[in-house]
């Protein structure tokens, strides 16, 4: 299946793009998508998504089709979903 991923904040800078379509297996869950995304980029990207143990960072906000996701539960995804990754920002 195909999932659209939007990168916000520092993730957009680290990925060099604001959005892409990622191809996942049909039974993929959020954690699979994030692992697939992380596998494409360098440490500055991965460090925003995952901690040293590979767990999803508590400060990452995940939005699936305009609804804030419970990322700890790693919800399953469907073809055509849009997943937005919002990073913690504090600029002024």
């Amino acid at each position: 299946m195909k999932v659209t991923v939007n990168y916000m904040g520092q993730l957009k800078a680290a990925a060099g793009k604001g959005s892409e379509i990622i191809e996942c297996s049909d039974d993929a869950a959020l954690s699979d998508l994030l692992a697939a995304a992380a596998g494409q980029y360098g440490s500055s990207f991965v460090n925003i998504i995952q901690d040293e143990t590979g767990a999803i960072r508590p400060s990452l906000i995940v939005i699936i089709n305009d609804v804030t996701a419970n990322k700890d539960a790693s919800p399953s995804l469907s073809d055509g979903d849009t997943v937005t990754l919002l990073t913690a920002i504090a600029g002024g």
């Binding site: 916000m8 904040g9 960072r57 305009d66 920002i89 600029g91 002024g92």
Partner: protein, 253 residues
């Protein structure tokens, strides 16, 4: 809606000054009297805090407590609208106070030449009815959040990065606090960040309207919600955010 402030009667000059905004339905002279009775803490007065303080001063808030350390630098002047060229090398907070008073000489200003820190956070938050978080470091933001939760004060969170912004209204005990939203000090945040003044001012001005609504008794739109925007694509989205029942800062209230 909770009354956050003690309303103050308007003078004829104030009635003339604020006439056009008192025409806003749901606000009126009663709202203006509440704003006159209000004290807001704005920390810091940079790209976010400058427009926040300026708009609050223009709108007729009674008192501002502004906290910002250091002297005016060239690199402040692309966005920190309260800092002026003629004040380069001199204290930022003096420049900010001077500009605010030029706009509104009736405004009471308490200018503190320090950023929020462990030693002053409780006292500075204690001086205000409402806090506008415009700090560029999460350590300062978490201190203001902790004190606002302890003291039961609303906290307007304004933040930006590059071409994007985030705003949420924190009402302790009712909405998620900053630590519910960001349970760790985000490791990717750096002290220096890409910034256009207009992107900062946008976040600040959205925050100001949340604050004015809260103070005047109108309903805030971002309590328990986060607005995020991207001025590259010009998209604005609002998502619901939840309290963390295990939050070390707000779980007991």
């Amino acid at each position: 809606m909770t009354e956050w402030t003690q309303p103050q009667k308007l003078t004829d000059e104030e009635r003339a000054t604020y006439e056009w905004q008192m025409w806003v339905p749901g606000y009126g002279e009663a709202g203006q009297e509440k704003l006159k009775g209000a004290t807001a803490l704005v920390s810091r007065c940079g790209g976010l805090g400058s427009p926040v303080a300026l708009e609050l001063a223009a709108a007729g808030i009674g008192k501002l407590v502004i906290a910002h350390g250091g002297n005016v630098k060239h690199s402040d002047l692309n966005r920190q609208l309260l800092m002026t060229y003629d004040w380069l090398g001199k204290p930022r907070v003096e420049s900010a106070e001077r500009r605010l008073k030029e706009l509104n000489p009736r405004l009471e200003v308490e200018a503190v030449a320090e950023n929020i820190n462990e030693a002053n956070a409780a006292e500075l938050v204690g001086m205000a009815d409402i806090v506008f978080d415009c700090a560029p470091l999460f350590t300062e933001r978490f201190l203001m959040n902790r004190e606002c939760v302890r003291q039961g004060k609303p906290l307007i969170e304004c933040a930006m990065y590059s071409l994007e912004g985030q705003v949420t209204t924190i009402i302790p005990g009712q909405t998620p606090c900053l630590t519910c939203i960001y349970p760790e000090d985000p490791p990717a945040w750096k002290r220096e960040f890409p910034v256009f003044g207009a992107v900062s001012a946008l976040a600040g001005n959205i925050g100001v309207m949340e604050g004015i609504k809260l103070i005047s008794g109108m309903k805030p739109a971002l309590a328990g919600k986060m607005l995020y925007y991207d001025t590259e694509a010009m998209t604005f989205q609002r998502i619901a955010i939840s309290r963390n029942i295990d939050c070390p800062i707000c779980r007991d209230i």
